[in-house]
């Protein structure tokens, strides 16, 4: 049983990592907390459900959710961030809260505030490896998160866009002097982070097969905790912290304190901020705690 729990925790954690990378990208490059990520995550879950219920195909769900979520990310950038770019960081944070309210309200009015459930038949086929059972959705989670994280790491570390991102995060003005189109980079940050959150939402929705308009606050917000525990300075941080928190939560549910599972993520968040503000993989520079 414990092996199954660990596998479940890893799957959940992989999805946490995706959301955390969404937060991380905007925070790392622009230094602001985009709270709307958690609601884009929720919208991604609903978009995935719409596709699955209409076409009975789980393979189309993730790409469509990602595209829809990327568009939402673009909207947040255009109306929530761009006009307020030179304001203190708390102002864009609040404008993304405005978008959170809008997205949650749209979801409640379009799909209702009651939970939506997927039909059982979609999960019929299950494969077992020894004591561990895996369904097609679990395989999808592994495939998607794996390839997306790899892709993101490649983009950030190797591509032109990645170099531009890092240049803008160092200093927007100097980057622009050197010919980096900072506005395009900013849009790219929001679009990619939206797409990541959308994919994560879609996968979580399919994994649990039941969603409501509040999963953004319940699950998506934990991405912030994962980001901090992993370390804001490092791409791989979220990759380590996601599964760690996922397994810790699943084990907390399995062995007793099920209702306290939310304390695990936020407790780790606070401990990490107090004991090691740069996060697990943040390196030795402690500048991160003083941004």
């Amino acid at each position: 049983v414990i092996a199954q729990q660990v596998v479940n925790g890893l799957l959940l954690g992989a999805v946490y990592s995706l959301v955390a990378l969404g937060y991380w990208l905007v925070m790392g490059v622009l230094g602001i907390l985009n709270v709307a990520i958690s609601e884009i995550f929720m919208m991604g879950a609903y978009l995935g459900f719409v596709v699955v219920l209409a076409h009975r195909s789980i393979w189309l769900a993730v790409p469509i959710a990602m595209v829809g979520a990327a568009v939402l990310g673009l909207i947040v950038e255009r109306f929530g961030y761009k006009p307020l770019r030179d304001a203190p960081p708390i102002v864009p944070l609040l404008s993304t809260v405005g978008f959170s309210l809008i997205f949650q309200n749209v979801a409640t009015n379009v799909w209702g505030s009651d939970p939506v459930q997927l039909p059982e038949s979609i999960f019929a086929r299950r494969m077992s490896f020894g004591t561990i059972e895996v369904g097609p959705i679990q395989m999808l989670i592994v495939a998607c998160t794996g390839s997306l994280i790899l892709l993101l790491a490649l983009v950030v570390k190797r591509s032109w866009l990645g170099r531009a991102l890092r240049a803008v995060s160092e200093s927007r003005d100097v980057a622009m002097l050197l010919g980096v189109p900072a506005d395009t980079v900013t849009i790219g940050t929001f679009v990619i982070s939206g797409a990541l959150a959308g994919a994560a939402g879609c996968l979580v929705g399919l994994h649990y097969s039941v969603i409501n308009p509040y999963i953004g606050v319940e699950t998506g917000l934990k991405g912030i905790a994962v980001m901090i525990v992993g370390g804001v300075n490092n791409v791989w941080g979220s990759l380590v912290a996601g599964p760690l928190i996922g397994i810790a939560e699943v084990l907390a549910v399995a062995y007793g304190a099920s209702s306290y599972r939310d304390i695990v993520a936020y407790g780790l968040l606070i401990c990490m901020l107090l004991l090691r503000p740069q996060g697990l993989l943040g390196g030795t520079i402690s500048r991160s705690g003083r941004a």
Binding site: L84, V97, I102, Q104, I224, D262, L269
Partner: protein, 284 residues
């Protein structure tokens, strides 16, 4: 006579003013708290248990809750001194969520089922507390203490070099802010008569910050204007029905575009008062 609807709205404005002040005091030292919903929850549950289960009179219950929560605020503020800016905000967000989850599972206060049994508070009492706290901060803003807060906010190291003690100033502000949120929460509980952990969610903490940022964070008049505007605005949007939150969110973004420094900026109020005095002085 005022209708009960208007009285309810006035009560809510008073409660929201206290919550706005709780963020304002902490922000005055340059610290942003996204976890004041947690302090509000502690005050609400604390005061409610005292009045409903132990029969303590409301004023004493509020004072005890404020004192206890203030100590929690100091306890939270002290370790959080290592953090600034967005990181402090995230840490306090985590604190708020932990408090909410705690009450979700705490059997003594009814867990997810909520807690009730409080007796309703008169609107006048709410305004006595809210007005009292407002005037106290208004007076404090004229004092040396507030200059020291400002100094810490503007440049902590320079303030330290001047011989100030940034640590105790920042922790003290956290304690005062927590106590104010607790009074607001306690009064809210005795106004709503039924509280559940959902009343103290992350969005509530954010709402308190909105009061201050939209009203203006330079003088104490800002939180007052913000609390009034942000309480009345959603009521005026009743006609849009189900789309109220979306319209509210959109208006919020537009207000930030137009006046990011808040409705009341700088020394606008003292300036008006001074000008009037001057006019009156020349008239006589």
């Amino acid at each position: 006579m005022l209708s009960s609807y208007v009285l309810g709205l006035l009560t809510l404005i008073g409660i929201n003013l206290l919550l706005a002040l709780s963020v304002y005091v902490i922000l005055a030292t340059g610290q942003l708290s996204l976890g004041n919903g947690g302090f509000m929850a502690l005050g609400a549950y604390g005061a409610s248990v005292l009045t409903a289960s132990y029969g303590v009179p409301l004023p004493f219950a509020l004072l005890i809750a404020a004192l206890g929560t203030g100590l929690v605020g100091v306890a939270v503020g002290y370790p959080a001194l290592r953090l600034t800016g967005v990181y402090l905000a995230i840490a306090t967000l985590g604190f708020g969520e932990i408090i909410r989850t705690f009450f979700l599972n705490f059997p003594v206060t009814g867990g997810a089922g909520g807690f009730h049994g409080m007796r309703i508070v008169a609107p006048g009492t709410v305004w006595l507390w809210a007005g009292g706290c407002f005037v106290a901060i208004l007076l404090a803003e004229q004092s040396r203490l507030w200059l020291e807060y400002r100094a810490v906010r503007d440049d902590e190291f320079a303030a330290f070099a001047l011989g100030l003690d940034p640590t105790s100033l920042k922790v003290g502000a956290f304690g005062v802010g927590a106590a104010l949120a607790a009074i607001g929460g306690g009064l809210f509980a005795h106004y709503a008569l039924y509280i559940e952990p959902g009343n103290f969610s992350f969005l509530v903490s954010i709402e308190m910050v909105l009061f201050v940022i939209l009203g203006g964070s330079e003088t104490v008049w800002g939180p007052l204007v913000g609390a009034i505007a942000m309480t009345v605005l959603p009521e005026m949007l009743r006609f849009v029905g189900n789309w109220r939150d979306a319209v509210f969110g959109a208006m919020l973004i537009v207000i930030l575009w137009v006046r990011r420094e808040g409705l009341v900026s700088g020394n606008i109020v003292p300036r008006i008062v001074r000008r009037e005095r001057k006019i009156r002085a020349t008239a006589t």
